[in-house]
């Protein structure tokens, strides 16, 4: 038996109180000394987020960062908002309870590739499937940093690490593909060093009502230095990064001479615009309901970063778990006034005098 659950149409921050007071990045800096290694990609992401949050115009006390365990999970301590540094892999679950009971909060999860995809994989996919109003920032450095350099579920196969002296035999996850497979309604990707691109994705994620997964390629100079260097070198980046811009034909490369078109079997493939023809370029639309489109985009790139789409892969509307759960509580309350004494009495009683 199924039943219509009703469909509230809201934006991601509609129930979060705002403020007219001007905010600055420094308002979001806590008094804790930041203790990542020098040169760690986490620094730039922290700065970007601290300068992007004021643009949302929210009351600072209504923002919460929940993290798991790992280098990036120290994030909440550095934010002058509410925050909880929880346990390994469990942040999405904890944040789900918080978001479900508190629609007035903007809840952010900070996690890493080990935290989200290994120990916490189950919570991640279920949070995405339920579409809880959470913004999940997945700092992907393709290595375990805090435990000093073991391979992670996004490390290259064959990668030599402390725990894989002969090379890792694991096949890595593509986090974007995984999220899409888990029915995520919003999936984006950005580079730690790309302040503009990251800010764009984060802004859209914040406004999205539902779970948003943002994969952030993050450099770990200590244990996996240069993992994303090919995307940071100007010439290389031009050839590899496929910027996804809503409403625009997908093209990239020096002078935009490469583009994305439909493949023979109905998927997507990269080709030379001169060969494909401009009219045959795919115009990017993250709102396409069929996950196959965004999934095909996610498969254009590979572990080797040969091609790397960045931006927003998918952004569709679907009722959120927390809205529906609260809606049921409201409906139940309207249908039946809570009367504790009546509940305790029940239907069948007898009286002894």
């Amino acid at each position: 038996m199924t039943t219509d659950l009703g469909l509230p149409a809201l934006g991601g921050l509609d129930l979060v109180p705002g403020t007219d007071e001007a905010q600055k990045a420094k308002d979001y800096k806590s008094d804790q000394e930041v203790r990542w290694c020098p040169g760690c990609g986490d620094y730039v992401v922290l700065n970007t987020i601290q300068s992007f949050l004021p643009t949302l115009g929210l009351k600072r006390e209504n923002i919460v960062f929940v993290s798991g365990i790992g280098c990036s999970s120290r994030f909440p301590y550095y934010m002058n908002t509410y925050g909880m540094h929880s346990i390994h892999g469990r942040a999405p679950a904890i944040a789900t309870g918080l978001a479900t009971t508190r629609p007035d909060l903007s809840v952010w999860v900070v996690t890493g590739d080990g935290d989200a995809l290994s120990i916490g994989g189950n919570h991640l996919i279920h949070a995405l499937r339920r579409n809880v109003n959470l913004k999940i920032l997945l700092f992907n450095n393709r290595i375990y940093g805090l435990t000093k350099g073991q391979y992670s579920p996004t490390s290259d196969q064959g990668m030599v690490t402390k725990s894989t002296p002969m090379g890792s035999v694991d096949t890595p996850f593509n986090p974007v593909s995984l999220a899409l497979g888990a029915e995520a309604t919003f999936v984006g990707r950005a580079l730690d060093s790309d302040k503009k691109g990251l800010t764009e994705v984060l802004t859209a994620a914040a406004q999205h009502r539902g779970s948003a997964l943002v994969e952030i390629y993050q450099n770990c100079p200590i244990f996996n230095d240069g993992a994303f260097d090919v995307l940071k070198d100007r010439d290389e980046a031009e050839r590899r990064i496929i910027p996804l811009r809503t409403g625009e034909p997908i093209r990239f490369g020096p002078d935009g001479d490469y583009g994305v078109t439909r493949s023979a079997w109905g998927g997507l493939e990269v080709g030379k615009v001169s060969e494909i023809g401009e009219d045959n370029l795919v115009v990017h639309d993250p709102a396409i309901t069929d996950t196959a489109y965004a999934f095909a985009l996610s498969r254009l790139g590979g572990q080797d970063l040969h091609h790397t789409p960045t931006g927003i892969f998918r952004q569709v509307t679907r009722p959120t778990y927390d809205d529906l759960a609260r809606h049921q509580v409201e409906q139940a309350r309207e249908a039946k006034t809570p009367d504790l004494q009546a509940l305790l009495r029940g239907k069948d009683t007898w009286t002894v005098t």
């Binding site: 806590s30 804790q32 009351k59 600072r60 006390e61 209504n62 919460v64 929940v66 993290s67 365990i69 909440p76 301590y77 934010m79 002058n80 908002t81 509410y82 925050g83 909880m84 540094h85 929880s86 346990i87 469990r90 999405p92 679950a93 904890i94 944040a95 789900t96 309870g97 918080l98 978001a99 479900t100 009971t101 508190r102 007035d104 909060l105 189950n122 919570h123 996919i125 279920h126 759960a325 049921q328 509580v329 409906q331 139940a332 309350r333 039946k336 006034t337 809570p338 504790l340 004494q341 509940l343 305790l344 009495r345 029940g346 069948d348 009683t349 007898w350 009286t351 002894v352 005098t353």
Partner: protein, 636 residues
């Protein structure tokens, strides 16, 4: 004293009673059949009839873990025992006075429990060659002398039910399925039970299938009329209403009482409730029940696993709701890391463990109380949590409120140890007046509290009396702070690796739990202090221990009884109580877990009596144990 029962009275069926009527003070009936025979429902209905009549009662359901174990086999036998009496009883009864066996397997599995002279009612239709050989009966026990010590009634329940439903147009198979209602009708006649409640129940249960409702009612009446018209039953029995304390009663199971207790805790604290949980036997009924009461501001979150269940509950508590999680022992194992986070972040959280047979998957549908040390110590580091345990199905309501009181007052996870016996068992419950329930209102932090004039909020400053830290929920302006699993500096709450601070914080967390306000332990000793032996228990063994003490006292031997509802911290007077007896005996459905804690803490010797059979103690068994011990002490 008078008793009036809502919806009972004479009932739809009334009898002229040519038979002799015997007055009894108590009866134990066990309905046993195949797990597909509807024995739980039958027992449950008989219980409701007894409750409506005003008897005191206690029940013991016993069913296999498999949803449909192979039909007609011993592992597939499901039974429901109900004990009802005209006085206050404590247990579901050791041995059934009446066994209703719906097939050979049910007879074989249960006969050993029936005392000589007991009544055995069998459905002869199921005693076929095939069914007999399935359970290893070489000869038909109805024909040889297997049952010579019992009063046996051979009733062709399947045939009679089919006959009664012949006109309904119901298929043979569907008609035969109503035979449990035939058995219920017969037993209802034998014990003069009101019948209206059952008929109303059936109409409601099958509201969407009125023909099935009518068929069941017909079968029920056919069973009643069978007793009335055939002469095979010479005697019927009456058990008068019990002289319980005045008030309005209802029948309740432990799991339902626990769920109501959580609803009440939400109402009395003014907090919304989030139950984060994962289905697990025998705790799932708490989820089912709470999911029906959303109108009380209860959100039930069926998570992807046990860990997410408690994670969501803790997240809700962090946001200012009352987080609750419900599970059984295997689930507690999975939740232990999050309980540790609750200890570290000092947030309120109620963790319900409906204990079952272990280790590992163990005996999912059987009872045990072997999670005490898991609750006490099953986490990394020094991680103290308060522990409470209900002593009866109805007590589950009060214990839920008590667990919540401790969680909210002291900002800590609380372990609530129920077990399969109290969870599925039922008894009359004196319905409390809502206004008499404890006031659980809390206040959240609203102002910065720093003692250095900085105007900051320091999350780890404590109330000097309770040692609880302030509960500052997100959304409160000016109190932004960060908490987490890393050790925090006393007061200020920033991350601290300072050795002395850690030592201090470990001690403070322990002191907070040790200092929880717990009522003194009451000792029951009607001899006025002559008892030299104390029987001490915890959890669901309250009933059998109490019943055994009554029996021992009836023999003229004094014995004192006390029961712990608080297992961490213990009541402050416990040490004195223990030392004032020559011998303390602690029966437990484990290998001596409470005994170990008592010996360690109080350096007193404890006589442990242990049984881990998946079933509650029998009063008779403990009577023997206590009697021997008293004799030993007197002789010494």
């Amino acid at each position: 004293m008078s008793t009036s029962a809502n919806g009972s009275g004479t009932g739809a069926l009334s009898a002229s009673r040519p038979t002799e009527v015997n007055q009894l003070d108590r009866v134990v009936i066990r309905f046993a059949g195949d797990s597909g025979d509807g024995m739980q429902l039958t027992g449950d209905r008989f219980t409701s009839e007894a409750a409506a009549f005003g008897n005191d009662l206690a029940t013991l359901p016993n069913f296999p873990a498999e949803i449909r174990a192979p039909q007609g086999t011993i592992p597939g036998v499901s039974s429901f025992q109900v004990h009802f009496a005209d006085y206050d009883i404590l247990t579901p009864g050791d041995r059934p006075d009446v066994l209703v066996a719906m097939n050979p397997a049910a007879l074989k599995a249960n006969l050993a429990d029936v005392p000589r002279g007991g009544t055995v009612i069998v459905n002869v239709d199921e005693f076929t060659k095939r069914n007999l050989s399935k359970v290893g009966y070489a000869a038909d026990p109805l024909e040889d002398d297997t049952l010579s010590a019992f009063e046996v009634h051979r009733v062709a329940m399947s045939t009679l039910t089919q006959g009664a439903l012949a006109e309904t147009g119901l298929g043979k198979k569907d008609a035969e399925r109503c035979k449990n209602m035939f058995a219920l009708g017969l037993l209802s006649w034998m014990y003069h039970r009101p019948t209206e409640g059952t008929e109303r129940f059936l109409r409601e249960k099958f509201a969407k299938k009125p023909d099935i409702a009518e068929a069941n009612i017909l079968a029920f009446r056919a069973g009643w009329n069978y007793g009335e018209t055939t002469e095979s039953f010479a005697t019927t029995f009456e058990v008068a209403p019990a002289k319980l304390a005045p008030g309005t009663y209802r029948q309740i199971t432990g799991n339902a009482a626990l769920a109501y207790g959580i609803v009440a805790a939400g109402q009395r604290s003014g907090l919304p409730i989030l139950l984060g949980t994962y289905p697990i036997t025998p705790a799932s009924d708490i989820l089912h029940e709470l999911s029906k009461h959303k109108n009380f501001g209860v959100t039930t979150f069926q998570a992807e696993d046990e860990i997410a269940g408690i994670g969501a509950a803790l997240g809700a508590s962090y946001g200012g709701a009352l987080g609750v999680t419900s599970t059984s022992g295997p689930g507690v194992a999975l939740k232990s890391e999050t309980i540790g986070l609750g200890v570290m972040t000092e947030l309120p959280l109620v963790v319900i463990d409906v204990q079952r047979g272990g280790p590992s998957t163990g005996l999912p549908t059987k009872t045990e109380q072997a999670d005490l040390l898991q609750a006490m110590f099953g986490r990394n580091g020094e991680s103290p949590v308060p522990i409470v345990a209900p002593c009866s199905p109805a007590d589950c309501f009060d214990i839920a409120l008590e667990a919540t009181r401790i969680a909210l007052t002291y900002r800590t996870p609380v372990l609530l140890l129920s077990d399969g016996a109290v969870a599925n068992g039922s008894e009359p419950w004196l319905i409390p007046d809502v206004d008499d329930l404890p006031d659980l209102r809390v206040s959240f932090a609203t102002e910065p509290n720093a003692t250095d004039g900085s105007g900051e909020f320091w999350p780890y400053l404590r109330d000097p009396r309770t040692l609880a830290r302030e509960w500052a929920v997100p959304g409160t302006p000016g109190l932004q702070h960060r908490i987490g699993g890393l050790e925090k500096a006393d007061g200020k709450g920033s991350i601290s690796y300072d050795p002395d601070n850690h030592d201090h914080m470990v001690r403070v967390r322990q002191a907070k739990i040790d200092g929880i306000d717990v009522p003194d332990l009451a000792v029951d000793d009607p001899s006025g202090g002559k008892a030299r032996v104390l029987a001490l228990g915890w959890g669901s063994s309250y009933g059998p221990i109490g019943a055994a003490c009554r029996r021992v006292r009836k023999r003229g031997l004094p014995i004192a009884q006390a029961h712990l509802r608080h297992l961490n911290p213990f009541p402050a007077n416990l040490g004195d109580v223990l030392r004032s007896y020559d011998l303390v005996v602690v029966p437990e459905m484990n290998m001596g877990q409470l005994a170990m804690l008592l010996r360690a803490k109080y350096l007193v010797d404890i006589r442990s009596y242990n049984k881990v059979a998946g079933l509650p103690f029998k009063a008779e068994e403990l009577e023997g144990v206590f009697t021997d011990i008293i004799k030993e002490v007197v002789a010494a």
